[in-house]
Amino acid sequence: MDVITQWLDWLPSLGPGLLVSLQLTGLSLLFGFPLGLLFAVMASAKLLPLQWVSFFFVEIGRGLPALVLLYLMYFSLPDAGITLTSFTTAVIALSWNTGAYASEYFRAGLAAVPLGQKEAALTSGLRGWTGFRMIILPQALRISTPPLAGLAVLIFQGSALAFVIAVPELMSKAFEIGSITFEYLSVYVLTAVIYGSLTLVFLGLVRVLEMRLGRHLQRN
């Protein structure tokens, strides 16, 4: 019972940390997913330089450890005369990371839409952007939504990395409590429980989403 009262004492100070973690995740997804879609579209663009730009950003975003990406931003932006808060830096780095991974899922989704759909859109007079937005994209999104939702869960876990550049998120708060009370084991177990249970909830939501999206495929 000792542990329980201890945990209850700590929850008020961990709460704001969790909020920052969730904000960080939310913002990274908000910027990262459109970025990923952009990279995916650029990868199949007719203009070669666009393909190169997409390749460059995607391969760096996926090839580097998220931690290195984070440090890269954190240590290099101030040298370039750009001073941002550590939170903003973390959002940029995680968005890049998200965008790079998401672009692969978007690409797979776009590739899965049959060519006939595009041709049909063309013959119906829906050219270019209109056809893409109204015919191709909705079908592609339905295919790439489940893996994207899975990615969102991973990004939530990845948000813990922002700890290293002193963003006051859940991990930092736990570390703070740990270094004051020396109850490292207890506080990290609590942190693990918080991360774990939230991840489980998110995974459950992903499952529900997958079932709803696949509903039209289940005949009788």
Partner: protein, 215 residues
């Protein structure tokens, strides 16, 4: 400047590889036990294995590392940073490797097992000579991909003070004020190692395929 940075950051390559490889091997072995347990006829063992895999996967790697490195010494279990990192990543790898093995096993048709049984092979021989070689071939690309993922995750070990690539990059960034360059060098090293691992895995995969006679 770049050569200087490169030579100081490259000192970390050894430990990066060591932590990654050790965790992959230990995690891979525990994963074998786990996948065996997950298919056990005893419901409780099955339940424990599944629970373990799920618990490990839903907790962020950095939380695992801190839990082990800062938490365990409370039980007078003093660990060096490298030990803590290897234990942490082995635990994480074991769960993911178990999942990879599972999908490899699922890809083997039941007919193989039945055929082995019909030929009078014992359960051990069946698993050792019929199922595992085939499952391994299926699982190899996934193992290589996970190995590369683990390589990138191993950067986290720098947060508890393991002197690997990211650690040295951070040191150089602080000392030389060449933040961008230091981490670009670190990034290039990671990508180079990933490429080498991917190439080796492809070679092994091709050799295995040729041996069996597909493609």
């Amino acid at each position: 400047m770049i050569t200087q940075l490169l030579s100081s950051i490259a000192q970390g390559v050894g430990l990066t590889l060591y932590v990654t490889a050790a965790s992959l091997v230990i995690g891979g072995l525990i994963g074998l036990v786990l996948v065996g347990a997950a298919r056990s006829p005893v419901a409780i063992i099955r339940g424990i294995a599944t629970l373990y895999i799920n618990i490990v996967r839903v907790i962020p790697p950095i939380t695992w590392l801190f839990l082990i490195y800062f938490g365990l010494p409370q039980f007078a279990l003093k660990l060096t940073t490298i030990q803590a990192a290897i234990i942490g990543f082995s635990i994480i790898a074991s769960a993911f490797m178990a999942e990879i093995y599972r999908s490899g096993l699922l890809s083997i048709p039941d007919g193989q097992r039945e055929a082995a049984h019909a030929l009078g092979l014992s359960a051990v021989t069946t698993v050792g000579h019929i199922i595992t070689p085939q499952a391994f071939r299926v699982a190899l690309p996934a193992i290589a991909t996970y190995g590369i993922g683990l390589l990138k995750d191993s950067a986290l070990a720098s947060t508890i003070g393991v002197r690997e690539i990211t650690y040295y990059a951070q040191q150089s960034a602080k000392q030389t004020h060449e933040g961008l360059l230091s981490f670009v060098v670190a990034g290039v090293l990671y990508i180079a190692i990933s490429l080498v691992v991917a190439l080796i895995a492809r070679r092994v995969d091709l050799t295995l395929r040729r041996k069996i006679g597909v493609a």
